[in-house]
Amino acid sequence: MIRTAIDRDATPVSDAAAMMLQKWLELSEVERRTFVALSRELIRSSDLVEVSTLDLSERFQDLAAIARGQVGQVDKIIGLAKSIEVDGEAVPIEDAMHQVEQVLVKVIGAILAVSKHAMRMVYALDQVAGDIEGSEQCVRQIDAINAKTRYLALNAAIEASRAGGAGGTFGVIAREMKDLSQEIATMSGAVNGRISAIRIGMQESHSVLREIATLDLSEHIMAKQQIDYLLVGIMAQNDAFKAALADTAQTSGDLTKTIGQLITGMQFQDRTKQHLAQVVDVLGVLQANTLALQEATITAVPRLAGASGVGHDWVERIVGKQTLGAAKHRMLTQLLSDRDTEVDIAAEAPAEASEIELF
């Protein structure tokens, strides 16, 4: 074919040179199509990076919002850990513990006051019991004196009777003394009865008071020690809880900050896209230059027209090292058909598949 077209050449070219030019034209066509394929791959990659970066950025934004929310929640928990609600009012835990302590102190003060007053009453009743005993002794002495008085009255009555008419007046006095002694005895009996009633009442009161006073409340006082230990333990646990929450808040804050830095770091995508666009522009220039040189060569050597197909050797060398299936498929389509697979990839698939089998 080349030999038959020699006469149409504008400039005489030897067969050997024409064959070499044909090889150069095949290589340039392969390179031109490769430039086109590479440009499209770079644009696809740039788009993929852009879409993926935007997706990642949105996810990081969501993550940052969640982290900020977490910081807020931890702050809220820290606030809750600092106080408790009492009758609808927030009371700092330290104040609540102090109030419990004050209540305990008052309770113990009341126990001590009760013990002290109970013992005062015990001593007072003991004193009254002694006084009652003294009163009973006085009554007994009165009874003894009265017995002697009655005896004297009886003797006086006897002597008055012996004296006859002269003892009449003395006899009247003796009867009066007897009546008086009888009244004293009656009164002494009444006093004695009342004193006995008071003694019984006193003994009952003393018995009740003894029961109260012997009710040992020292264990209740010592309960304060256990409650003190509990309060100290609760405070220590609360402090540890707050410290752990503060660490968590710090970690969440650091996480939010790091995510912010990551989002800022995502801006590399803009620079990458600009760089890739420049490479695509260069590849476009190279493709145009190659095409212009092909046309100029064919103009100079017309017999080479239609001889600028692609050599499978060149294609195999380019595609052979590609490992990504889709990219390899697109490269093959471009090199063999000079078009992008995305135009009609379904229709070209069988032919492409056979070509892939070829390599």
Binding site: I108, K116, A213
Partner: protein
């Protein structure tokens, strides 16, 4: 409880031995009367041998402090140990008495 008394120029030192409870109120009252008979003194209750103290005994101690203070004397609690020391501490007795450890 067993009381022992030692007199010094400053005042009496009463040593309480065993358990001090309600049942000791008469003996303690008698001892208190003896201390009141010496006004303006610095009396001491040695608690180092005391093993138990009930709330009635705490009441008696407070009465003793009242009575002795009204007679111009003072009452010091000396060397409370173990549970006695803890009970006095929980009762805030240090606000009422001078306590020597």
């Amino acid at each position: 409880m067993k009381f022992t008394q030692q007199n010094t120029p400053e005042g009496a030192v009463m040593t309480l031995d065993g358990s001090f409870t309600f049942n000791d109120f008469r003996e303690f009252g008698t001892m208190l009367e003896a201390l009141r008979a010496r006004p303006s003194c610095r009396h001491t209750l040695d608690l180092s041998r005391l093993e138990f103290l009930d709330s009635a005994a705490l009441g008696m101690l407070l009465i003793a402090e009242d009575e002795l203070r009204s007679s111009g004397s003072s009452l010091t609690l000396r060397k409370p140990l173990g549970s006695i020391a803890r009970l006095l501490e929980m009762s805030a007795m240090h606000k009422v008495f001078r306590i020597e450890h």
